[in-house]
Symmetry: C2
């Protein structure tokens, strides 16, 4: 008999919108997992069956019995049983037509020993039956609008329904985030801790949330990414419909602790953040920002814009300065307001107030909504922040509600006693106005709105224009030497210095006469990736005598040397393409030398992508100003830089045998970009290796 | 008749601990400033006289009358009158023996026009009488333990007494901070908004707080600094007695860029933060961190330590990872625990938990206090964080209270519903245990404790060892050329390349033969600070012919050139000393090139200071790893680097005519540090200029 399947029922919707629930391993003792789950599920609107194999008063002895007895179809079984029993329980579920299970317990592969066996059995049971499994190793999930609390953390019962969906890698962080939203009065449409993620994954829950009419914005927490393309596709699809805000943990090497919890981090923190942003997610730095940004974006969203600008209206200069400093730190543009706006503000405000951006109004008066209307009506402004200390006579939410915002996004920032800010938040929720507390939170909110507007604009551009970059060459059978790599770059339209490969002092001497000095002499080898590190590069050779010395020194090292014209001076860049193990092909652009190696000042984008996005990558660099012609250097021609990145990307995409191409440095000379060095490495593709043998 | 003075009474103590208060310009209308102040002061324990010159039922017609009628001496007059009337009111106060006044109103020099006159009159009145003035342009101050609310913001009446003193540059931020402390349940000993700061200043209030037995920790907010040395002295004195936490606004204010090259990088924001830290303050990045750090430091303080280490005990891995990532980001050390600790944890915890650092316990059990004791008892650990989701069976505050902390500082981090975290905070206050909410706030708190421990250790070292660095030379009468500057460095024991000053091609040729190639040829001028920018530097000259070309090109520019031996390769540093316009002599150490110019990766310290602190400056650089010998370069000899900084500092201190000395680059060659360029600029000191004429 073939294993029973419930594939027709399978789906995250059955997990998160079950018509009925059973607790397998239920207990009457609330201190046990099975008892805590029964207690948590007491608030659930639908039927909750309880199963205890050992027979407990009022509980069923088997899953089948509980399903039979239920007043509605059972879609979810919450397994509160040890790891060794889970696989069989999944098969029981399939038999009984229960499409999904939640497994909170540990004791699988992370436990070592027998655990790996239990995990393999569980995965096989799930695969063979089509029953969908959330977990193991998660504290569960909750759907407050349905009173569904499948979590053993009692406080989860206090969560209110609302517009934010939480999708967290960890069950603990799912709860920490949910409670943080609760503390500031933002309700949840659902909260899911993915845990070990053996089956149900973050991308699937994202896809569910994108469709879910109760979800207005999504807070996403990631530790490690199992399936990069699936994640990126899900974020891209979701973010075009509703805001997605992402927190990625793991900037720093968290070592064994992270591995014990999440498995190895195969990709980099930086790559994950860059690609999430490219897919439309607002990327934040900590869980406080995640909560602030998602709450605000659940309430309001700015219009798509290539370069959104922020205006601030503040009643107190001190907090206004704190917010403005933070906005500059986030790289946001605070334009001076246009003359019509300033003229209007001159009519509305007392003479001594500051009427540029920020607008410092003094204590808000009865015409404060007109001040907000004037600023929101400015042609240069996309997002407006309005700050004041709470006072009985001040009603910022009312002023924003009464203002004519002309479609601009607007966020209120208040400071006051606990009661005052709670009251402002309640007013804001009633009126549909986003309310934050304190200048820093206000700045985080404005930054999130601007990021979202920029991403939405870029996504629309991406869809409109994907560059055709392809110039298929013969597959590479072995890693090219520097000379071969440079010839290949020439074939892609990328300039390199004039050079000769020389196998003797005589050849080198002839090359020197041919090229003219000064020249560089380098060892020629595909194996040595960092030639300078082994003393394999001698620069600025101006005389035949110096050449002879250099060749004598380097030729024995690899049997051949490159003699190459020295490039003129200029700004050194780094441009590379590589196959990220998690996300696939990406391009990297940075400033060469220590900017990349020490300050990690690089921009990363998934390829293929639009030429506009490749051109815009440099705007993400902290050292951006260097490209405009620093200290008399030539300005870097940005379209040419984007062309180099696009050509390399096209090459990588056409050549599955290529792992990475790194041009470092790519020198921005006065006339053109010149690749001074290039390294191409090949994948460990088994077919390729066979061919090589 | 000479102006009356009350200098015997003058002092911030009379302002902040008045025996009685009068409101001048009192009103019965609470919407007016004078009415709002009367309403706010209703909670004050002492007498509050009301003065209204136009005669209002129940109010006095003059200050003298009010003072006479009061049941206690009046020490503070709150002036709710227009700017033009303030100077006269100050003189009235002096006549009546009222030592201090608060002026909230604006309308002084910031208003332009007549305002400057009113300000001058006010300053003269204060100076001549000795009456101390807080303000103008502030929303006031409050002393919750005395019910004293001299603020027109009604919510200030809800502030509770407690251990934190707030000293804010702005009245608005004083209130914003006070409310933020109130929201998380931390009471205040006082809160002062300095406002325009015409008289009473932040350093004076700091000095008051250092003595004030009701103040346990100080939250300091700064925008601009009027008197740098006074501020630094006050912070140093206060921080040795109680923690000082400082927020400096203005990272991105372009107006703060200083005039000269190094100065432009060492912005006053950066300098202010560095010097505050050197004086013992914990420096934070935003007002949220200011509130968290001060609250925690008001409850607990770690022992002084040169390199404090942090341990984290977490019940949930996900939030533990967020906190750990943030701790790494703050540059904190999380040592692996010692074997005895790990053995003890092995006895206390289930086998599958992670028992290094962080310690991942799973849900805290009844022996959680023993886990905390084991970690706090580890010889490697200075500061302990304990995190868990709030659950009814979990009592972290109780566990920390029951633990044997062996003098280690310990902070609890919780996440839970509003009611749960409020309850945990109340428990913490009762038990004297610091409680934070969420992993990011916990990390901020641990970082603050570690910063404070490090600063306390450094302050003790500073006091123990101040280097004698002095080698007084003749005063400089005009800015030295590069050659002169380098001779001067040689005199200070700083190596420079061999060089010759040449006024003709023949001299240059002789120098070349003498020195041996390759050489650099540079224009010689004290006026051109950035010789490369004007094409005045030619490097790597190897032949007589190349030399002749170079000399022909450069000699006409300034009439003389330097011919200098090329230094061997190495890591380029920048070391400078300058007179900061606010703080006085400072030393700047950084990595040369774009690290300094683009990434602003510099360390700043006030000089003179200990050789230990000068040596440790490099540890503040983000590019610190470069100094250990990056990519085969020689490691930078740190004692020699500190010697260069100390020598330059000594020179600056001995030479009041010198404004700045910048050695850029200082090259770390294999054998020694070599100054490849040096610029010395002189002050605009009038005596010096006279001598020059």
């Amino acid at each position: 008999m073939s294993a029973p399947t419930v594939s027709a029922l399978a789906g995250v919707d059955r997990l998160l919108r079950p018509r009925g629930v059973v607790v397998v391993g239920a207990s009457a003792d609330p201190d046990k997992l099975g008892g805590a789950m029964v207690a948590s599920l007491a608030s659930y609107d639908g039927p909750v069956g309880r199963v205890n194999a050992r027979g407990v008063e009022g509980m069923h002895r088997s899953l089948a019995e509980a399903v039979e007895a239920a007043a509605a179809p059972i879609d979810l079984a919450v397994l509160c049983i040890p790891a060794p029993a889970c696989a069989a329980a999944v098969r029981d579920c399939a038999e009984a037509g229960v499409a999904t299970v939640l497994i909170c317990a540990g004791g699988f592969s992370e436990a070592g020993g027998e655990g790996a066996l239990h995990e393999a059995e569980l995965v096989r049971a799930a695969t063979e039956t089509g029953v969908r499994v959330l977990g193991p190793n998660t504290s569960g999930f909750f759907v407050p609008p349905d009173g569904l609390v499948a979590s053993f953390v009692p406080g989860a019962g206090a969560l209110e329904p609302g517009p934010v969906a939480v999708i967290a890698a960890s069950g603990g962080l799912n709860h920490a985030l949910a409670f943080a939203f609760q503390r500031q009065g933002t309700g949840l449409s659902l909260g899911v801790g993915i845990g070990a993620g053996l089956d149900v994954s973050a991308p699937e829950v994202l896809a569910f949330c994108a469709e879910d009419p109760r979800t207005g914005a999504i807070a996403l927490h990631l530790e490690t990414v199992a399936d990069g393309p699936a994640l990126i596709a899900a974020v891209r699809a979701a973010s075009r419909r509703k805001p997605v805000v992402a927190l990625v943990v793991g900037e720093h090497d968290l070592g064994d602790f992270a591995r014990s919890h999440t498995g190895a981090l195969a990709t980099s923190w930086r790559t994950t953040r860059a690609l999430l942003a490219q897919a439309g997610a607002v990327v934040v730095d900590d869980e406080q920002q995640l909560v602030t940004a998602t709450s605000v974006l659940a309430t309001t969203r700015a219009q798509p814009s290539a370069d959104p600008a922020v205006a601030l209206v503040t009643a107190q200069a001190g907090p206004g300065l704190v917010a403005t400093d933070a906005l500059h730190g986030a790289g946001l543009r605070l334009p001076e307001l246009t003359n019509p706006t300033r003229a209007r503000l001159g009519e509305l405000l007392p003479p001594l107030t500051y009427q540029a951006n920020p607008v410092d109004t003094g204590r808000p008066g009865p015409r404060h909504h007109e001040v907000i209307s004037a600023v929101a009506g400015d042609d240069e402004v996309d997002v407006v922040g309005v700050y004041a200390l709470a006072e009985p006579v001040v009603d910022l939410v009312g002023a924003v509600t009464a203002a004519d915002l002309r479609g601009r996004a607007c966020v209120v920032g208040v400071d006051g006693t606990h009661d005052q800010v709670t009251s402002a938040r309640i007013d804001g929720r009633r009126a549909g106005v986003a309310v934050t507390v304190g200048p820093t939170e206000l700045a985080v909110a404005l930054d999130a709105l601007a990021q979202d507007a920029r991403h939405q604009h870029a996504l629309a551009t991406d869809l409109a224009s994907r560059p055709a970059v392809s110039r298929r060459l013969e597959p590479l059978r072995q890693p090219p030497t520097e000379a071969e790599a440079k010839q290949l770059l020439n074939g892609l339209g990328i300039a390199t210095p004039q050079m000769r490969v020389c196998r003797s002092a005589e050849e080198a001497s002839a090359a020197f006469r041919d090229l003219g000095g000064p020249v560089a002499v380098k060892i020629s080898s595909a194996e040595v990736l960092h030639k300078s590190d082994v003393g394999g590069v001698l620069l600025g050779i101006r005389t035949e005598a110096a050449l002879a010395d250099a060749v004598e020194q380097l030729l024995p090292m690899t049997g051949e040397v490159l003699v190459e014209q020295m490039a003129e001076s200029g700004t050194d860049l780094i441009v590379g393409v590589r196959r990220d193990p998690v996300f696939g092909p990406v391009a990297v652009v940075g400033i060469g030398g220590i900017a990349t190696e020490v300050y990690a000042d690089v921009a990363i984008a998934a390829v293929p992508t639009s030429i506009e996005r490749l051109t815009g990558m440099v705007d993400q660099l902290r050292g951006r100003a260097l490209l405009d012609g620093f200290r008399g250097a030539a300005a870097v021609p940005l379209p040419a830089l984007a062309h180099v990145a696009a050509s390399l990307a096209g090459f990588l995409l056409d050549h599955p045998e290529v792992e990475e191409v790194e041009v470092n440095p790519l020198r921005a000379c006065a006339e053109q970009l010149v690749a001074l060095d290039a390294v191409i490495t090949l994948t460990d593709h088994p077919d390729l290796q066979q061919e090589e043998r």
